[in-house]
């Protein structure tokens, strides 16, 4: 519990980054997300936990409008990034996603070299003025995702040739290189072994210095280890949201208590 309180003391930020009000999501006839209200803080790791099919990934995908790519999805309510409604007609989802990056459940490196994978975002968004700039961004991102030492001698080999854990860290580096403000992670460790998982978790903790990180996870231990804020979803409802420490030690809602003690799931 000691290290827990250590983490808690570090939550000094209370700038609100993302505000969600009365968010509803429908997949066709299915009402997947019901009345979700949440404020996500800047420079904080926020964990979404809950049983399978509870809507936590769906809600995550609302934050960078990835649900737009699914034809039958329909979203109501208001989600604001720095006070600006991201579902406003004037907002282009492409620009939004440059600010809100995403790392997926399964490592999905592009069939390109390691270098080109990381340089993909910066090139698209014109973040580098010249080749040296780009080299620097790539190196910084790879260092940031603790992958640099492992790949610095084979930057021009295909990214698909890395191990699963390395691929996932490459995907994180790729997201970081785009210089987002928020980083969404959809179960980033579910396809990884314990060692790779702990490396990625360590990385997430470091990323908090620069970004607001939102992570969906199935592992309550992981939520407890990496996050400062936790939201518990159940059947499309946001049941409880608060400091991670409080959620795991003094849950207010009986459903939260049942879930974290393993009675429902």
């Amino acid at each position: 519990m000691n290290d827990m309180s250590l983490v808690e003391r570090e939550v000094t930020q209370d700038d609100i980054k993302i505000t969600a009000r009365d968010v509803q999501v429908y997949y066709g006839d299915k009402h997947a997300i019901k009345d979700v209200n949440v404020d996500i803080l800047d420079k904080t790791v926020t964990a979404f936990i809950g049983p399978s099919g509870c809507g936590k990934s769906t809600f995550l995908r609302c934050i960078n409008r990835m649900n737009d790519t699914i034809d039958i999805a329909r979203i109501e309510g208001k989600i604001a990034l720095d006070g600006e409604d991201i579902y406003d007609k004037r907002v282009d989802p492409v620009q939004l996603r440059a600010k809100v990056g995403m790392v997926f459940q399964k490592p999905n490196p592009f069939p390109k070299s390691i270098y080109d994978n990381v340089a993909y975002g910066p090139r698209i968004h014109g973040l580098a003025r010249n080749r040296a700039d780009l080299d620097e961004i790539v190196e910084k991102s790879l260092r940031g995702s603790a992958l640099w030492n492992e790949v610095k001698d084979r930057l021009h080999e295909p990214g698909t040739g890395l191990s699963g854990g390395q691929q996932q860290r490459l995907c994180i580096a790729r997201a970081v290189a785009t210089a987002p403000e928020v980083l969404l992670m959809d179960e980033p460790c579910s396809a990884l072994d314990p060692i790779a998982t702990s490396q990625v978790e360590e990385l997430i903790d470091q990323l908090r210095e620069d970004f607001s990180v939102v992570i969906v996870t199935h592992s309550m231990q992981q939520a407890a280890r990496v996050s400062q804020k936790t939201a518990f979803f159940h059947l499309g409802n946001l049941v409880e949201y608060g400091d991670t420490d409080d959620i795991f030690t003094r849950p207010q809602d009986p459903r939260t208590e049942s879930y974290i003690s393993g009675r429902i799931g």
Partner: protein, 484 residues
């Protein structure tokens, strides 16, 4: 006994064997199929296979061997004197077999009885008149008639024995297989072994056919190169065959025409097909896609001769009147451009359909990854989806290319038949395939280099398309390994 009836009887026997075999083993096991080594149907099948397979095998071999033996026995009845000047033994034998079939028709129509037919002589005017009255006249030499009668007799005896042997074999197989059946008999293993043999046999047929085609091409090509120097064939730039002799058979003009037309076809088909595929897989809604894709694939179902007609009556004159003549590049109705464009239309479905499948096979996670980084839809397609699908697309293009190289009808009607090397796409040219047809049609001596050159051309074409196909398969396979 007609072969048809033999086949039917054997099939009936083997069906009976199936029922009997299954019934017998179930009776032995007191109706409890768990006491059996195999499931009951396998016992039935083992009997059925033993009844049918050996009988059919013998039947097949017999049908191949019998004519050879009969030919030989009949041949003895034709003395050398009976072969007229300028005739060969084969021609006389053909006449004998024709008369034999006339006689057997006569017997079938009750014009003659069988003994009457077998004892017919050329002096017997009464029977000959009866035949003439039935529109079945027999007019030949006595020797040939005797040969024909021997032919008839031998065929009759042959088919009689064929019936006896196959039915006996079938019955023996039935009894043998039935007696073998016991609950611990490994019927499934027997059936599966036979089935595997059958599968192997079928795949062997395909391979053997390919080998046969290649061998026949190779042998004919060798005899061509005995008559005509290979350097002149491969490096000659003039194609002027003349059956009177002194022909020049250089294949370069044909190869040039083939490649020129194929390149134009691909230059048209690849961008159009690829863009159509991108639209269908990335932008079209499922409803539009379900209409557009089959509609494009209809193109693949149009016979190439119809494309040829389209080239001849529509595209050819159009290109001549609106492009070639205004630019002063010729006034030929048939041109490389015409054939190339029409062939390109034909190839669109090959490129688009395969590319569409390949683009769809690119994992959605890659698209999500790219979109999640804030790239636009088109950036995602250009920088992630297409590079990932590229090996497969190249494979599709190469398959289309080998189709283009082997195409004949569109070229005949669209590009004409003039063998020449020219850079002007509005001039008539021709391809290897067209000239193969040209050299083999008509009443020509089959041993002259002018005819045999077709086989050398065919071999060249075969090597060309085979190389392309192997290359395409190699690339497609390499691509498959990437996501598994």
């Amino acid at each position: 006994m007609p072969v048809f009836w033999i086949v039917l009887i054997v099939l009936a026997l083997s069906a009976a064997g199936f029922v009997l075999g299954r019934g017998r083993v179930m009776a032995q096991a007191q109706g409890d199929s768990r006491k059996l080594h195999s499931r009951p149907v396998y016992y039935g099948w083992s009997v059925a296979l033993y009844t049918a397979l050996p009988a059919f095998l013998v039947l097949l071999i017999w049908l191949f061997v019998q004519p050879v033996i009969i030919q030989r026995s009949v041949s003895k009845y034709i003395p050398d004197e009976a072969i007229a000047e300028g005739q060969t033994r084969g021609i006389v034998m053909g006449e004998a077999s024709k008369i034999a079939s006339t006689l057997s028709v006569a017997v079938g129509q009750d014009v003659l009885t069988r003994p009457e037919a077998l004892t017919l002589t050329m002096d017997d005017t009464e029977r000959l008149d009866r035949l003439k009255a039935a529109q079945l006249p027999v007019l030949t030499k006595p020797d040939v008639l005797r040969a024909a009668q021997q032919y008839l007799r031998a065929t009759h005896i042959g088919s009689l024995w064929l019936g006896i042997v196959t039915l006996a074999l079938s019955g023996a197989g039935l009894v043998f297989a039935l007696l073998r059946i016991r609950p611990d008999f490994r019927a499934r293993n027997v059936v599966e072994r036979v089935m595997r043999g059958l599968l192997i046999g079928c795949s062997t047929i395909a391979i053997a056919t390919t080998a046969g085609i290649v061998l026949s091409l190779v042998f004919e090509s060798i005899s061509f190169f005995r008559l005509y120097p290979w350097q002149d064939f491969f490096f000659g730039t003039e194609w002027t065959p003349s059956f009177g002799g002194g022909s020049k058979l250089g294949m370069l003009p044909l190869l040039w025409g083939t490649l020129y037309i194929s390149v134009i076809a691909l230059l048209f088909a690849v961008p159009v097909g690829l863009f159509a595929a991108i639209y269908m897989s990335e932008y079209a809604s499922p409803r539009v896609r379900s209409v557009v894709k089959p509609a494009i694939e209809i193109l693949a179902g149009i016979p190439t001769i119809v494309y040829g007609l389209f080239a001849l009556v529509t595209v050819g004159p159009l290109i001549r009147d609106w492009l070639a003549q205004p630019m002063g590049l010729g006034n030929s109705g048939s041109s490389v451009m015409t054939a190339g464009l029409v062939m390109g239309v034909m190839l669109i479905p090959f490129v688009s359909s395969l590319s569409d499948d390949i683009i769809n096979a690119v994992p959605q996670s890659l698209r999500d990854g790219s979109l999640g980084l804030g790239s636009t839809h088109s950036e995602t397609i250009r920088q992630v989806v297409l590079p990932a699908a590229l090996p497969g697309i190249v494979g599709a293009v190469l398959l289309a290319a080998s189709r283009a190289i082997g195409e004949t009808m569109i070229v005949v009607l669209g590009a004409g038949a003039m063998a020449q090397i020219s850079g002007n796409p509005f001039e008539a040219m021709t391809t290897i395939t067209v000239k193969i047809v040209g050299q083999l049609t008509g009443d020509n001596d089959f041993a002259s280099p002018e005819t045999l050159v077709a086989f050398a051309l065919g071999l060249t074409l075969f090597v060309l398309t085979l190389g392309l196909n192997i290359f395409a398969l190699y690339i497609v396979r390499k691509y498959r390994e990437q996501y598994e």
